[in-house]
Amino acid sequence: MQNSVKKYFPIFALPTVAAFAIGFFVPFIMGIYLSFCKFTTVTDAKFVGIDNYLKIFSDKTFGHSLWYTAAFTVVSVVLINVLAFAVAMLLTKGIRGTNVFRTVFFMPNLIGGIVLGYIWQLLLNGILANYQKTLTYNAAYGFWGLVILMCWQQIGYMMIIYISGIQNIPGELIEAAKIDGATPVQILRNVTIPMVMPSITICTFLTLTNSFKLFDQNLALTNGEPSNMSELLALNIYYTFYGRAGYEGVGQAKAVVFFILVALIAVVQTRLTRSREVQQ
């Protein structure tokens, strides 16, 4: 079978492989190379060594957006997962109307980041107007605005995943714990949470990377204002590329650093939570 299929490479695999090369592989390699170059378009690149990387350190906006992003990621990952898990626990208890609630909570996920950003801009600015302030009054408002927006968008998605995890726990296990006299808190800590660990792995992975890479919502909600103080990393990189002439190389170097951070977080996080999963 191997040989007869092998001849069909051009039909089966070539389109995807070629598109993958154009859409990912070549730009990725070029991106790494260009981070060591000074350039305005890809054709006039001049090799400058680690100059771009050194310039990142003297760029104060990058350091600020890095901490801003880190804080935002931590807060939103914790909030989203805790709330989504709590909602999932309650919605697996057979409450009347569960399906409707699930449908409603999930809905915001289908709406794109740009649209979401403007929806929440209207609402939050409307509330803040009572105190003569706007979302761009200072970075803290933008921060909590983004956190609220992300919670609203992502809780439903994570809830769905947690619900399927909770429903997969064998009923006997909980019954057995009850007969042995375990309290609800003990059941939660020693039975439910260990059993849904795979869902926790996935949900923390998704929320971590989504928050860390957030762009559209940030662009629409505050656009980094006031003066780049509410800028997340992705937006900071974008404006380094397209907002400052002559900084394309620095932008690319920032992107490489950004990529390494995302990869590190992803690997460390999956290692950490995977090691806590129990064999079913």
Binding site: Q2, S4, V5, F9, I11, F12, A13, P15, T16, A19, F20, I22, G23, F24, F25, V26, P27, F28, G31, L34, V42, L90, K93, G94, I95, R96, F101, T103, V104, F105, M107, L110, I111, G112, G113, I114, V115, Y118, I119, L122, L123, A129, W152, Y157, I160, I161, S164, C203, F215, D216, L219, I237, Y238, F241, E248, G251, Q252, A255, F259, A263
Partner: protein, 279 residues
């Protein structure tokens, strides 16, 4: 746990009903404001548009003129539907090929796909947009190829996971009966892959329909805008935003999604769960 009803169930029902109302409130607010005269929107966002505040469909008409909403809608629909179809067809074939052919290339490509899933778009955004420009991929047809390339990672990964669970004997039997690999694939393998196709289609469609930055950088946006680009364009880079037109266009952007969601809800939620379990 099954069907056993919770104690105090009605209390939770009440609580969640209130929460659900709070959940849809932002959307309702935008709908309400889309019928309001634009000067009142930022001043009195929480009031109903009665009397002199009510402008009928004025905001909608003005918004549609400003950004040619229907063109944007058509572009978004065309790009999403075609890209998803192409991704499903090409990546499933590719995944089957690399799962069945044991070679260094297959393994290498599989791991590259896996790797590409954690690379943020910002990493390739500049080079990808320049490359797409050089290759003249800035039309709605060209961008399909870009989406196939950038979306291949997740799809190939998910299809590979499923293809491995298909017993080889079925395909071998088809081959012995005289099927060519193409016939085997389309008559035997592809039908079995259908549930995974739905999952991949939903995840990719949610991404592509809402994607802003990739089409913004790749497409020739003077000629083709998608809905997110049109909405962002409405904001412009300077001066006061026409809040009336903005609200109306937000409503028009949300309505098709909600209708689609109501119709395909079951598949969407199942697709998300299946996608999460495999990813």
């Amino acid at each position: 746990m099954g069907v056993r009803k919770a104690r105090n169930g009605w209390l939770f029902t009440l609580l969640f009903s209130a929460l659900s109302l709070a959940w849809v409130f932002p959307i309702v607010l935008v709908v309400v404001n889309s019928f309001k005269k634009k000067v009142y929107i930022s001043r009195k966002p929480f009031e109903f548009p009665f009397g002199k505040m009510f402008v009928e469909l004025e905001n909608y008409v003005r918004g549609m003129e400003k950004i040619q909403f229907f063109d944007a809608f058509k572009n978004s629909l065309f790009i999403t539907v075609c890209s998803v179809a192409v991704i499903i067809l090409c990546t499933s074939m590719c995944a089957w090929y690399i799962s069945r052919i044991n070679s260094a290339f297959s393994t290498g490509f599989y791991y590259l796909c896996l790797f590409s899933m954690i690379v943020p778009f910002q990493m390739v955004m500049f080079t990808l947009s320049k490359l797409a420009n050089i290759l003249h991929l800035y039309s709605p047809i060209g961008i399909i190829l870009v989406y196939l390339g950038f979306g291949a990672g997740l799809s190939v990964f998910m299809f590979c996971g499923f293809v491995r669970s298909i017993p080889l004997e079925i395909e071998e039997a088809a081959m012995i009966d005289g099927c060519t690999p193409l016939q085997t694939y389309f008559h035997v393998v592809f039908p079995i892959l259908k549930p995974t196709c739905i999952t991949v289609a939903i995840l990719q469609a949610m991404w592509i329909w809402n994607d802003y930055l990739l089409p913004y950088l790749v497409l020739d946006i003077k000629r083709w805008k998608t809905i997110p680009i049109a909405i962002q364009y409405l904001k412009g880079g300077y001066g006061a935003v026409d809040m009336g037109a903005m609200m109306a266009m937000l409503v028009l952007a949300i309505i098709p999604i909600i209708i689609f969601y109501m119709v395909c809800q079951k598949y969407i939620i199942e697709g998300v769960v299946a996608g999460a379990v495999k990813g």
